[in-house]
């Protein structure tokens, strides 16, 4: 890929990542993740 194409792709992905992270925080996804991560995940350890 040409250098300008790579720079454009990097910029676009970084911008999209920033928007998605902000959208996720705004929608309250972080609360769901913290709730799941702070308690034992029974699926992860093979219990239920």
């Amino acid at each position: 890929m040409k250098k300008t194409g790579v720079i454009a792709a990097r910029t676009a992905v970084l911008a999209a990542a920033a928007v998605m992270i902000a959208a996720g925080i705004f929608r309250g996804e972080v609360g769901i993740i913290l709730h799941k991560a702070a308690m034992i995940c029974f699926e992860c350890i093979g219990i239920g």
């Binding site: 890929m1 790579v6 792709a9 990097r10 992905v13 970084l14 999209a16 990542a17 920033a18 928007v19 998605m20 992270i21 902000a22 959208a23 996720g24 925080i25 929608r27 309250g28 996804e29 972080v30 769901i32 993740i33 913290l34 799941k36 991560a37 702070a38 308690m39 034992i40 995940c41 029974f42 699926e43 992860c44 350890i45 093979g46 219990i47 239920g48």
Partner: protein
């Protein structure tokens, strides 16, 4: 004295392991860290049910939100994974992932070694798209909640990092163990045997996170470059590659974990990490 990339990489892998799992003391009584750092995802696969873990697992977090009743799609986890991917690509696998380090240690154990054909390496894309992204959204209970299918039926990291210490320390969890645990232990054991035989077996065949980061290898800030005027096509680089890549032909393959073994091996200096900006 020039320090090889292999040594620098091992040091970084150990530091990353410690930073992602700073609560080693929790392994004694099997309590989990419950603080705010768990709002963030680690770049590599690292189970949040491991008592030592200080961050969330990106694949676990993604499925938790995709399977939730109201949200059904995790912009946050995918956004973080895109950010790690564009910055590092699969250098996350080579330098930061704790399970990658464990697989490398397992592969050092004397055991008959083999290479894989190409097709099993495609399975990980199915893991990512079907098992991680789609199933928690599509298969739901009466309340509309989906399960983290990858964590529940496949992930050996949860079984090894989370399951073993929690089963040892919690009698009440041991009393709940049944067919699912037996199934997960068999899967984890098969993956461990796979890693003894094939270098980075789990990364090559099953890891949805490695599959995701692979899409960024061509555009990430970490790039490998081959100087074709210096390369004599001796093939030494592809012989040492743990991911079966030929870096003299395809230095930014989706399979390359940026371990730098090919760079250390090339006497002509034909392979190198490119200026990253």
């Amino acid at each position: 004295m020039k320090i090889s990339i292999a040594i620098k990489r091992k040091i970084i892998q150990v530091i990353a392991l410690i930073l992602m799992n700073p609560y080693i003391g929790n392994l004694k009584d099997g309590n989990l860290y419950k603080g705010s750092w768990k709002k963030f995802c680690s770049p590599g696969l690292n189970c949040y049910s491991c008592p030592a873990a200080g961050l969330s697992c990106p694949i676990g977090a993604l499925q938790a939100v995709n399977g939730s009743i109201e949200l059904k799609w995790s912009f946050y986890a995918i956004g973080l994974m895109c950010a790690f991917g564009i910055l590092l690509g699969r250098a996350v696998c080579g330098f930061l992932c704790p399970f990658g380090l464990l697989q490398e240690l397992l592969h050092k154990i004397p055991f008959p070694k083999k290479k894989l054909p190409f097709w099993p390496k495609l399975i990980k894309y199915g893991m990512l798209v079907v098992i991680v992204l789609m199933l928690p959204v599509i298969i739901t209970n009466a309340a509309g909640m989906g399960e983290p299918f990858f964590c529940k039926f496949i992930c050996p990291v949860g079984t090894i990092e989370g399951g073993i210490p929690l089963l040892i320390t919690h009698q009440e969890i041991r009393s709940m163990a049944g067919a699912l645990l037996a199934f997960k232990i068999v899967i984890a054991a098969l993956i461990v045997i796979g890693c003894l035989i094939v270098s980075r077996f789990f990364c090559k065949v099953l890891c949805p996170l490695g599959a995701f980061y692979g899409f960024f290898n061509r555009i990430s800030f970490v790039q490998l470059e081959t100087d074709h005027t210096a390369c004599t096509s001796c093939g030494k680089c592809s012989k040492v590659c743990p991911m079966d890549v030929n870096p003299s032909k395809n230095p930014n393959s989706m399979e390359c974990i940026r371990c730098g073994k090919c760079i250390d091996q090339c006497e002509k200096g034909a392979i190198y990490f490119k200026n990253m900006i």
